[in-house]
Amino acid sequence: MAKSIADQVAVVGMGCTQFGEKWDKGPEDMILDASVEAFTDAGIESEDLDAAWFGTLLTSGSGLMVSKTLKTGFIPVTRVENKCASGSEAFRNACYAVASGAYDVVLAVGVEKLKDSGFSGLPNTDPDPDGTRPNISAPAAFSFLAPAYFEKYGLTPEQGKEVLSRIAWKNHKNGALNPKAQYQKEVPMDKIMNVPMVADPLGVFDCSGVSDGAAAAVIVRTEDAHKYRHDPMYVKALTIAAGTGVGAIHQDFDFTSIKENNAAATTAYKQAGIKNPQKEISMAEVHDCFTPTELVIYEDLGFSERGEGWKDALNGKFDLDGDLPVNPDGGLKSFGHPIGASGLRMLYEMYKQFQGKAEKRQIEHPKLGLTHNLGGRPWECVSFLSIVGKELG
């Protein structure tokens, strides 16, 4: 029986840049800003680090971008990439390294500089040497979930559109309270529902923006955490479920859920000893790359019963003042999605919430938080889940 990661490691410092179109910042600037905030927060210097993990999809190759920028000396810096879960993957690897006892103090940092490319959306990074793969954009790939979900649960296209818009509306409402978000404005429902289509039935507001950003975390063993601060964040569970691509080739997959989410959640809940996520989880940051993704996530992670997620979305269950706030920081919808940074940005919100530093977004007495970060496409994903807590045990 494998030893669980639960309570073995703690986060003692975090940093996060403001996300947006950072014409005046390069990736090195953002790595520096996020890391220095994390170092200051933890009360360490870069020479205190024993190792670092670097998450990025497109912005850099090796970890040299981090070691050169931070002048980390000759410690190991490892670049990891797991599609849109690259930031989470850096965190996961860093946590395991500390838990193994190999290192005392490590850094996980993620960055993405998307706005320098001049492209709209993300370039496709999957190899396609024979050039025959359908050129499906990311919003189109996730919009497959919508007609299938509506059909299965008997929603009219109009009802379905309202549900999706309600999710976008909620996330923008939360993001309006967050000075680090790319978009800090509430958006009225009728505007969300009536903007031009990106991938039918998804309009512009159903899609996360393209932004630049970085986020970082300093991780130590739990036994050392109080050397750094009195209010660390403890890691209870970390999982990655890598898909088999079965959704694209097997008729059993019906496009109303993402199998990898369910697999990652089941394992994570087991690691953290969670029996009923609806009651035990105080708040969640989930991968709302597109609104139907968040809808199926509610059900995949057990926040809603199957087929009930749309009702829970409409009745405010996941609002900031609801039973289970989802994306209190505004989510990808408000932050945009600088790939390598997003997973760490989600953890940053948990960390601030536990410390009572989430200002207008502050949730009352959060104990356990969940971050969910997804890479790939509905039929072939990597799904990451973390459970983090304010307290030990």
Binding site: S120, G121, D130, T132, P134, I136, A140, A199, L202, I249
Partner: protein, 470 residues
């Protein structure tokens, strides 16, 4: 007796109203419409579609020789009929030839096919297909349409025998396109008609009738392919044919289909033909080939998969003129803010030929679940390397879910993508073409269609997509 043992046609789904062309230039007039190959179609892909249409029964479909006749092959050097062979999943050990550069290419291929059968080959496929374009606002622009036809030539179950043929070969510079020209050029129209078409076609048809001891009244239908229908009708009258005998009306419905013109008229004619009918088909281009066909009893029991008449009715006729210009690469447009499409890898294309051209995935020999693309490990039962090839492209499918993608760069946005489940198992995520946007629905029935995907680094790329059942 050697003759036609199967026939089929392909008319692209999109039609451009000739009035729309006139309106684009502030002009009046223009009647009828022309067939326009989709942005992901070319002469090669249409030839494949026509050949599939000629596959009347579900049984074995093969040929010993494949011909491709066209003046618009995708490559100046690289054989199209080899790709056609692969897309039709014919066996490898067959002969293949492209016949190009002349509007007489189709009849040349048909006559060569007959010769091949006479010398012992059992079955020969002849495809004729063209996507010729005229310069914008010119006469050829509204005249020319896109289309393809296909014939199987053999000796068993002959639908129409090839009784005889006569050819004339004379050089005349009436229409031409050099290897550097994008558009068709021509001398004064009356020169070509009076000195070329009228003389040469007339001579060939006259020779044919005389040597077979036939009068024009013995002939059921006559096809006198050539520039514009009014010249065809006039020549027919001069030769002594009545209006009823002349196969016509296509110029107004699909346009002049170039190399495929005479073959398509012949397909239309065969769909209406009766046993005993005598058909004369003459082509024109640096001379003329006149062929005499006699329809047999077998015609009663033959029908192509869809045929000319049904494809004529199945259409989208709201094509904007600017879309037409984009599809024909005649309107330079701003590139989308997306990375450029890279040149496909030749070794990867070669390795994946069975999948991308022939349309095979795999089926697990342990649990019989089919997969596309080919899998090594079964996603159903976990068996490792227990797969056999499984053909998908002849299966019907249904839409599981779909989306119209306005972000993906396309010459005809939005691109529509679907998840398709196949009858008998298996699934594919692929693009849909030739659809009406307001008719998309979960559960709609689709069929596979062979397409030219794009050209990058001057390599042409082909694979299969789906379309609503036509």
């Amino acid at each position: 007796m050697v003759g036609i043992t199967g026939y089929g046609a392909y008319i692209p789904f999109s039609r451009l109203k000739k009035k729309v062309i006139a309106e684009a230039y502030g002009e009046k007039g223009g009647s009828g419409e022309k067939a326009v190959a989709n942005h992901d179609e070319d002469s090669l892909s249409m030839a494949v579609e026509a050949a599939i249409d000629a596959k009347a029964d579900a049984g074995n479909f093969n040929a010993d020789v494949v011909f491709f006749a066209s003046t618009t092959p995708p490559y100046k050097e690289k054989q199209s009929s080899a790709i056609i062979r692969s897309a039709l999943d014919f066996k490898r050990n067959i002969r293949s030839t492209d016949v190009t550069d002349s509007l007489r290419a189709a009849s040349g291929a048909l006559l060569s096919a007959a010769d091949a059968v006479k010398s012992g080959e059992k079955s020969v496929l002849v495809t004729a297909s063209d996507t010729r374009v005229g310069g914008a606002q010119g006469g050829f622009e509204s005249l020319l349409g896109d289309g393809a036809a296909a014939f199987l030539i053999g000796t068993e179950n002959v639908l129409a025998t090839i009784e005889d043929s006569k050819s004339i070969t004379v050089d005349i510079t009436d229409q031409w396109r050099s290897s550097a020209d994008d558009f068709l050029k021509s001398w004064e129209e009356r020169f070509g008609v009076e000195s070329g078409y009228n003389q040469l076609v007339s001579d060939a048809v006259h020779d044919l009738l005389t040597s077979n001891d036939l009068q024009t009244t013995d002939i059921s239908k006559v096809i006198l392919a050539g520039p514009k229908e009014r010249y065809q009708k006039k020549l027919a009258a001069t030769l002594g044919f009545s209006d009823d005998q002349v196969v016509s009306g296509h110029e107004n419905r699909i346009g002049h289909c170039s190399t495929a013109q005479a073959p398509m008229l012949l397909v239309d004619c065969l769909e209406e033909a009766h046993p005993g009918d005598l058909i004369v088909m003459a082509t024109y281009g640096s001379g003329s080939d006149a062929m005499l066909f006699k329809v047999t009893e077998n015609i009663r029991s033959y029908a192509p998969r869809m045929g000319f008449a049904k494809q004529l009715q199945s259409k989208r006729d709201n094509l904007p003129y600017t879309t037409y210009l984009k599809w024909k690469n005649m309107l330079p447009t701003e590139a989308g803010r997306r990375p450029e499409i890279p040149q496909p890898s030749a070794p990867a294309m070669y390795r994946h030929q069975e999948q991308n051209l022939e349309g095979y995935g795999s089926v697990c020999t342990s649990c019989e679940t089919p997969f596309f693309p080919k899998q090594h490990v079964c996603a159903e039962c976990g068996a490792i390397q227990q797969m056999e090839p499984y053909k998908f492209t002849d299966k019907k499918g249904k839409v599981v879910t779909y989306t119209s993608d306005y972000l993906a760069v396309s010459p005809d946005p939005p691109s529509t993508f679907n998840v398709i489940d196949f009858e008998g198992g298996g699934r594919m995520i692929c693009e849909m073409v030739d659809y009406h946007l307001d008719q998309l629905a979960v559960g709609m029935e689709v069929e596979m269609t062979f397409r030219h995907l794009y050209e990058a680094g001057s390599i042409h790329n082909y694979t299969w997509k789906v379309r609503p059942k036509r």
